[in-house]
Symmetry: C2
Subunit: 195 residues, 2 copies
Amino acid sequence: MTDDVVVLRYGHRPGRDDRMTTHVGLTARALGADRVVLPDNAGQSAETIRDITDRFGGPFAVELRDDQRAYTRNWEGTVVHLTMYGERVQDVETDIRADSVDVDAPLLVVVGGEKVPFDFYEEADYNVGVTNQPHSEVAGLAVFLDRLFEGAELEREWEDADRVVLPQATGKKVVDPAEAAAEAGERGEDDDGGD
Amino acid sequence: MTDDVVVLRYGHRPGRDDRMTTHVGLTARALGADRVVLPDNAGQSAETIRDITDRFGGPFAVELRDDQRAYTRNWEGTVVHLTMYGERVQDVETDIRADSVDVDAPLLVVVGGEKVPFDFYEEADYNVGVTNQPHSEVAGLAVFLDRLFEGAELEREWEDADRVVLPQATGKKVVDPAEAAAEAGERGEDDDGGD
């Protein structure tokens, strides 16, 4: 994966927002973004996300910055700001895809926490609402990414994982990557056709 | 909407989990579920979700219960348990839809918080992973519901709202329901063809 889709979290109150910011980062990773940019006071969330990446694989980058506004203003590519006040995701997702992932051009997805300054509304190429209802920035990000990638993110393979969860109808199965590869081979999922 | 799709939250630590539980409930509401069942110690989250429903519309019900296990065991309909250890959502969503929304049969979606007892894995008709990666129960619920309803939930109309957010390319526009109806009429969205 190239560093094409970046999620930027605006706003973080240490302690109070740790879990939400961590969930924003983990959702970005799990659903196909290449990198998350967090406020520089969100070091604890950054550590958790890096730890998950070390164990479950990457590539996925976590960056701490204190210049969220300038970073967004200077972004060379499309900027999407997720907000319940924005245009309906179902109306704009095709245009956003055509501007970004369809042509391998960079996309910045801004996810607000607390009050988002009006700058972000103005700097965004698209203000996008996943419904125009109040719910959760994590939920909005998740639905946005799944629609952006049209589900392809669910097929992603992870590199340098210590462990792999194998999907089970009931129960939990966690193996090391070599075992996972062997099971995939037995199911005929090898590309080289060998056995 | 009938009371067909119910989201059940298992586990809640007052204080620490308030925001996550609130986000589970608000996501359930915004993305097409009919009701959320919360643990009985999650009264503060219930209050927030009811307040949002009063202001932004319904119908959507919030229930507090202390019998999550029995409730799940006695559910007359399909039970889906969202877990990173489960089968891949992209592999089972068609079957789940065929068992539930396609035939107007009830569906219970169990969303875990802390350690989920093995009962839930066994009682579930489907254990489902929105990726087999650790991320967020809110993100998993959001993607699951959007896929279950195939995006139709985004077109939902809300009853008895005090206010309506109108989608905007830039900025915020919040109106009362009469104004929203008038704007829809001007855009020719009236079903009766009148003006």
